[in-house]
Symmetry: C2
Subunit: 573 residues, 2 copies
């Protein structure tokens, strides 16, 4: 037990931290097709380059009409409209919905000019070019606004993300077909032992097969590494030193197994000294897995694992896996189920089993909470941003707030968001945060949320930053965002997400700034009022119109740092 060679056994966590602190980051990246990107780690923040959807679209089959035309419509007093055309999915509408007219429209099809509401087929009766509408609906009903799912400029995947199938789908939705990823870490592997033979050799008396090379290289391949197999080395300090040198030349990290028994381990230590290495630790308070030896030679690490197969496997998971993740700047935890406490009452799906998609937040190790994602199954950002889900069983009306549920982690990999930002979309705030914290190795996740949900998330200590439109007393920062009027005519239709009237225009209220921009560029609107920082993303300019106040609330995690970063933006963006 207390052999003199292990001068001071250290704790497993200390050993892991020493490795993570000393490992060198991979600095070379390569661009791969999205087809081949699963399991690779993203080398840069990836932002959406298009809006999803890129146009206002119908969320169900029905009739696209002008809401003013159906005010007061009911079973008894239906409104009669002339049907001018039919917008099919994937087609550009031809013609305009003028007062007294309608277009038949399919789910997912583009809303035609002049329409601001889609009446579901079940509230309509169409015949001979005429439709009777039996229900009055407010403006915006059954329309998914441009950018309602993903907004241009939004961060989709932060650098350091291990790409899983859901990311692949979400990125392809934004038109991204090639991704810059870190190159695969090259890990040199060899086994130490006079008694080892290869699987291609005839077993002779006293010899045993070198199995660790196979186990370790399989484990490395599953982690997305390229194992460089150096083979077997006898128990001889010179041979070991040569292998370590070869490994340092060819690999980013050198892993050996064996040579850790009392008699042998000074051989390895001597070999390391000969190679100019510094021993970082030797011996961990772990069973199996005590005789782990880690050294630094130049800027690279050598990790010597025990030769016993179970010890080698357990030690690999404890030390080599975190080293590889740290080399890639990736903070992924392999875990399948977590326990969370419901932040609010969660309603069931009627007779159907409800799968509630959530983003998972780690408060402290093993202490998880969550941010619910929009339940709309057409939402791509829900897929992209969901770390997992919990189930509300069929037939159950609701699960009460405070109830504990088990959430399933998608693909068994949980990736920590170091900073969770919710609320209003501001490309300037998001951009400065993601780019500045990127250099610190922090991962920022953004989830768009309504004012109420954003405040709730902040109060529940889930969101680290909430951005709210308007002035909230006691907020940490108040930033003014410039609004611009973009107009091709001094009269006509003005589209805006703000409740603003401008003389000379008839205002159409839309759900997103992106919808206003879509309507302007598509010729549906003659003028729009949008934040300048958003218009800029589309290369649009206009005249100053006014300001919108954004209140920024900042939680305790990295608080001072975040305040410092955002102060740099100034109080006007």
């Amino acid at each position: 037990m207390g052999s003199p060679i292990f001068k001071r056994l250290i704790a497993v966590e200390d050993a892991q931290n020493i490795i993570i602190r000393n490992v060198e980051r991979i600095r070379d990246s390569e661009t791969v097709s999205i087809d081949e990107a699963v399991g690779r780690v993203v080398a840069e923040n990836i932002y959406a380059t298009i809006d999803v959807p890129s146009f206002d679209r119908a969320t169900l089959d029905g009739f696209a009409v002008w809401s003013a035309d159906i005010i007061g419509a009911s079973e008894e007093t239906p409104k009669r409209l002339r049907v001018l055309g039919y917008v099919k999915t994937g087609r550009v509408p031809r013609g305009v919905v003028r007062p007294g007219t309608a277009f038949r429209i399919d789910t997912g099809a583009m809303i035609p000019k002049g329409a601001d509401v889609v009446v579901p087929v079940e509230y309509c009766d169409a015949n001979n070019g005429v439709v009777f509408v039996f229900r009055s609906l407010p403006s915006g009903s059954n329309i998914q606004w441009a950018g309602g799912d993903i907004m241009r400029g939004e961060i989709l995947v932060p650098a350091g993300t291990l790409l899983l199938p859901r990311h692949i789908g979400g990125l392809s939705a934004s038109g991204i077909s090639r991704i810059r990823v870190w190159r695969r870490p090259r890990i040199a592997v060899f086994s130490i032992g006079d008694e080892l033979i290869g699987l291609d050799q005839e077993p002779s008396a006293g010899m045993i097969y070198d199995i660790n090379t196979y186990t370790i290289s399989s484990l490395l391949r599953l982690l997305g590494c390229t194992p460089i197999i150096l083979g077997r080395t006898p128990d001889d300090p010179e041979a070991i030193a040569r292998r370590i040198e070869e490994g340092l030349r060819r690999g980013d990290l050198v892993v050996s197994t064996g040579g850790s028994s009392v008699g042998q381990s000074d051989l390895v230590v001597r070999s390391l000294m000969r190679a100019g290495g510094t021993i970082l630790f030797h011996g961990v308070m772990s069973k199996p897995g005590k005789p782990v030896l880690v050294a630094r030679i130049g800027r690279k690490l050598y990790i010597g694992l025990p030769g016993n197969p179970t010890s080698a496997m357990v030690s690999f998971m404890l030390y080599v896996k975190p080293a590889v993740m740290a080399m890639l700047g990736c903070d992924a935890e392999h875990i399948d189920n977590i326990t969370i406490r419901l932040r609010r009452r969660e309603y069931g799906g009627g007779g159907r089993r409800l799968y509630r998609m959530i983003a998972i937040k780690i408060r402290r190790p093993s202490d998880y909470t969550y941010e619910p994602l929009p339940p709309a199954s057409e939402s791509i950002s829900t897929m992209l941003k969901s770390d997992g889900y919990f189930v509300v069983p069929e037939g159950l009306e609701f699960l009460e707030k405070g109830h504990t549920v088990i959430a399933r982690v998608l693909d068994g990999v949980l990736q920590h968001a170091d900073i969770l930002l919710v609320g209003e979309f501001s490309p300037s705030i998001l951009g400065v945060l993601t780019e500045t914290t990127h250099d610190m190795g922090l991962h920022v996740r953004y989830i768009r949320k309504s004012r109420e949900s954003a405040l709730q998330s902040y109060e529940d200590h889930v969101a680290d930053i909430a951005i709210i439109s308007g002035h909230i007393g006691g907020c940490d920062l108040l930033i003014r965002r410039r609004l611009i009027l973009i107009a091709r005519k001094r009269e006509g239709i003005l589209a805006s997400a703000y409740n603003i009237s401008v003389r000379g225009y008839r205002t159409i209220r839309v759900g997103t700034h992106q919808s206003a921009i879509f309507r302007y560029t598509q010729g549906y609107a003659d003028a729009i009022i949008v934040p300048e920082e958003i218009a800029r993303l589309y290369g649009l300019r206009g005249e100053r119109f006014g300001f919108e106040e954004l209140s920024v609330l900042i939680g305790n995690r990295h608080r001072e740092h975040i305040i410092g970063i955002l102060r740099g933006l100034g109080d006007e963006i």
Copy 2:
């Protein structure tokens, strides 16, 4: 919600069962190198073809001596022996340990002829060709017997096992370098929708990127399948029918996304009818994921998933993943942590954190128990057979029996052992069980255990079958196993694991039958007594010597079936 097209929504589990019952098994296998075998599913039971270790070996550095020479040795009365040589790891010993002599020996090296015990260096004082031994030790001390880890003929990995790194290591230890695995399932994938464009196309107004193909094919690749991407299909029954036919021709299973909205789903149903399909179900009580449509055409399945991205992903996991696993005869659950109750007091590792390796048994869904594996870290079978581990924290003396602990599942994949067999190794019983149940799709796992542990495991309802040497009252079957005497001389050394004396021989008691066979073939022993069924594996014959009684205890799981199979063996093997 209650659209007329979904005539009867069925429960998620019913949908899964219908798919598993109807899916066709992959029947073609291929042989792959062990380097490329991770993630593939084994197509046949794999048995050990060699013993591990294949020779008696020292478990520590010391002196190999004849135990009778050191009886009574102590600090005060050390025994003086002449040192004849030094056995290094990987070398065949030269010379024989005769009375009054010893060999220096390294950890892992082969025990020389004449020795039956290894005295650790710390109880010895060697100088000038002489060693003083300060401690008396019983025969067999510090020797790992041939076959003590893995026995020739033992089942290593049952057919249907998803190969993980630990299997790769364990199989390579037995000299297995090529493995027969099921060929990768070929899954045809296409998307339905007029509005879909490829990532290589310029986005035009009203169109959206086809993202499901990317998500689904990524998910399929992670499952070890070959996705056959058929591309996009407009909302047109003839086009859909053509795609389904192409998919059936080229794939083992056809998966589509989209086309499930009310207006479209009758298009798909019509297309399936045209292709000669039978609808197995249409609509599941799940949210998202209601409009799942599964049909059988000939012997192949078509699974239509919803087009919404989150629904497609959730439905994939619920229906396509189990289908693929069933196609491969694989019963693997992706799970990371389980809760188990300790079956006995578990002692800690002193100041070290103890990782206790265990085989996990599923009693009922979500109800797990375990079988502890030998803690010896040099054990390869421990690595091969461990499904996971639990931790006894450093500094803790023990965890009490009945205490609940969280066990970590290795690689996040738990593979059910349908039948767990423990106790004495009998190749005849194991062989008939594994081969007969193989055809039924049951996976048999064997763990060698001492008499006491085997009985305990059976009584704790962990083991389904226990085989115990000797007659146990109330056992379910009593089988007589023939013993044979194999001799090259009528006098000299007789090695046996049985406590048997034969006139003319001096008996050496060894720990395994495999050690007796090693000693005979290596010339260490002149005669051995071993079970005939084991000798046969080595092509050895001898004269009938007697019988050993094996008591077989059979638990409730598959009881009648197992009794039927084993009765077929007769009462003598």
